[in-house]
Symmetry: C2
Subunit: 407 residues, 2 copies
């Protein structure tokens, strides 16, 4: 029995014959030629041939400015490629990505292909277990820019975030290996701060350390961080390729959750005509590559992704169609406490509320910024309107006063 | 003395204040906040601060449908990031790639940053030396799809291409490690064929073997191929990231030229609004990462890139502004012998004429397909119109008869 992985493309063409185009992709990206082959050769090659599964043409209605396009699904025999994301992307989109207006909008994987992908090592349930938090949304805080900070400055900022009661703190993704805060020392001082804070708050937290540098050294850097006590990793996946995440996440020595940063994702997803859809790029592919948490631009803030795309990413991270652990969705950018009810409405409780400016910019400082979020999450979970909750919670009140409520 | 790398963006905005936007990027992607910092802190942070170098606003003329945009250049202090392409891309385009209509159109590198980049190990001069070909354009032949072929079938196709007199033969980029033609056996039989052919043609050739699989295994796979005698490598750079190419090309044990395939490039460059320009992606970045040859979609064939973008790529591959060896431009797709004069007109002689269908589809088979190209290159170099040369050259005549001349 042959098995196949299927790619779905959105192809724009004013007049073209989409059926023919689909056929030419199915043949061209697999056996090269078909109708010209003699019958005996066809028998031999049949198991390598791609198949057109669906061609759904969308004709623009008259007077309507929408372009003519088709959603085209083609299945590719697993026998043609190896069990890694580069091979699948090269097979399904490598050459044809350059062939006119075409966007890769989905991939479905065969059981056989997926057998090489253990997926997230922790996932939502594993992270909840590490933190001892059963049902509520988690709260993550992002270091604000710490370029040029020394270890004392870093520790001070970490401490303020930790005392605010957040569940996770992540490095700034533009903090690279540097002489002021090299990774081992950074982990050491931040963990000290985490322990001190836990004495006070009684709350555990995870610190996601940014793994950077040369590709072949990433594993060593991760192990160094973990040996020093790092409780999570942050990784800019796209500049390195999904396979590096896949290798890190499936490595038995990498014993902490990995948060995937969407750095560079805007080079892929926003065009309607080119690239790779957000739900595939930041949803399905991140999950099979093993991201335990996936950051993506929220629909609420300044760096905006449409809400529908956010929810499509969420769907892929949580879908039971993949027999893998689920990944935590982390809609990011522009998040302030007033948005919490809307985030929970959109994402439910399996979400990480992730804030930078919304914590550090609190008039009472980062500690109060964190507390305001904790209060907002509590209120939203209990169905209490934020304005009402804020009457007894000065931190939340101060946040609502400067950033407003959710609508 | 501080040194900087500079990024240039094209930013589209109907009404926005581009100067302000530029300032917010320069601060936001470096120190985070500036005007709010106390003076002593500013003194400390100044060396980490990004600078707006240029904001060139293009207002649409009235009645003109062209969108309003600005070309914005921002310099980033080297002290902020490590000496690798992922760090540079994350710093300059990581987060802001997701912030509206913005395309990264150029990067310039400081001397200090570039010091980590030895560039192409062979480059144009090194490849010419390996082949003993001083001035003329080189001729490359692409295997047509050999998925499902066994070693005999592969060798037969290799032999036909070699006997046609090509200088380079490259694997199909969708040929992965597979049980029928595993890399060591593939190299072995193709080298046998190359030697047999050389006895007949008297011409050396390079065989670029496709390096595929898991990221951490690519180096081993390359070494295996080289130990077996592979004379060049083919690598799908973008699905793995530029840093992997950088690591392979600067590895002293990788002793053969590397041809960079543009697989997946169409996910980055074609949109005017998003992504990374072709000249940066397939020109400058491929060269600093160490590609000896760079394939890209030609402006002549079915997979079309505008001629101006082709020439911009060429400029970056050859420019003396970078103190690195130059990389061979390889405009690909849709190339037939009739196009040779136009290719030479556009690219000069430092170009690789690269053909697939234009060789295999020759009515006299691949051997005659190769010969027709050799004849076309000879004629074009000597200023003889192809139609005239074809009078005495049946292979060229047959090619012109089916594919036509160059205009």
């Amino acid at each position: 029995m042959s098995s196949y992985c299927t790619a779905t493309y959105r192809i724009y063409d004013e007049k073209g014959d989409f059926q023919r185009k689909a056929q030419s992709i199915a043949v061209g990206m697999t056996v090269g030629t078909w109708t010209e082959l003699p019958g005996t050769k066809q028998d031999e090659m049949r198991k390598h041939l791609g198949h057109v599964e669906r061609v759904e043409v969308h004709e623009p209605e008259s007077g309507n400015q929408v372009e003519r396009y088709a959603d085209v699904s083609i299945s590719y025999p697993d026998i043609n490629f190896s069990r890694d994301i580069p091979a699948l992307l090269i097979t399904t989109f490598g050459k044809i990505s350059m062939d006119g207006k075409i966007k890769l909008i989905d991939l479905t994987f065969s059981k056989d292909f997926l057998s090489a992908f253990p997926g997230p090592k922790f996932g939502i349930s594993g992270i909840r277990e590490l933190l001892g938090v059963k049902e509520r949304p988690l709260l993550m805080s992002i270091f604000k820019s710490v370029i040029g900070y020394d270890l004392d400055g870093l520790k001070e900022q970490f401490m303020a975030q930790a005392l605010g009661g957040v569940d996770l703190i992540k490095d700034d993704e533009i903090l690279f290996e540097n002489p002021l805060t090299p990774i081992e020392q950074r982990v050491r001082v931040c963990l000290e701060a985490a322990e001190e804070a836990e004495q006070i708050t009684g709350k555990k937290l995870l610190y996601a350390v940014n793994i950077t540098g040369r590709t072949s050294q990433l594993r060593d850097q991760a192990l160094k961080a973990i040996d020093t006590g790092a409780s999570a990793l942050l990784f800019n996946v796209l500049p390195y390729g999904f396979d590096v995440l896949h290798e890190l996440s499936s490595d038995p020595d990498i014993t902490v959750p990995i948060a995937a940063h969407p750095s560079l994702a805007g080079a892929f997803y926003p065009s309607p005509h080119y690239g790779i859809s957000a739900s595939l790029l930041l949803g399905k592919l991140m999950r099979i590559a093993g991201a335990d948490l996936v950051l993506f631009p929220s629909p609420y803030g300044s760096v905006v992704m449409p809400r529908a795309e956010n929810l499509a990413i969420q769907r892929e991270l949580l879908s039971s169609e993949l027999a893998l652990r689920t990944s935590f969705p982390v809609p990011s950018a522009g998040i302030h406490p007033g948005l919490v009810p809307r985030i929970l409405e959109d994402f439910g409780t399996d979400v990480v509320v992730n804030a930078g400016g919304g914590i550090h910019g609190h008039p009472g400082g980062a500690i109060n910024g964190g507390l305001a979020f904790v209060q907002a999450i509590d209120a939203a979970l209990n169905g209490v309107p934020l304005e009402q909750a804020a009457e007894h919670m000065p931190q939340l009140k101060a946040a609502l006063d400067i950033w407003g409520g959710s609508r």
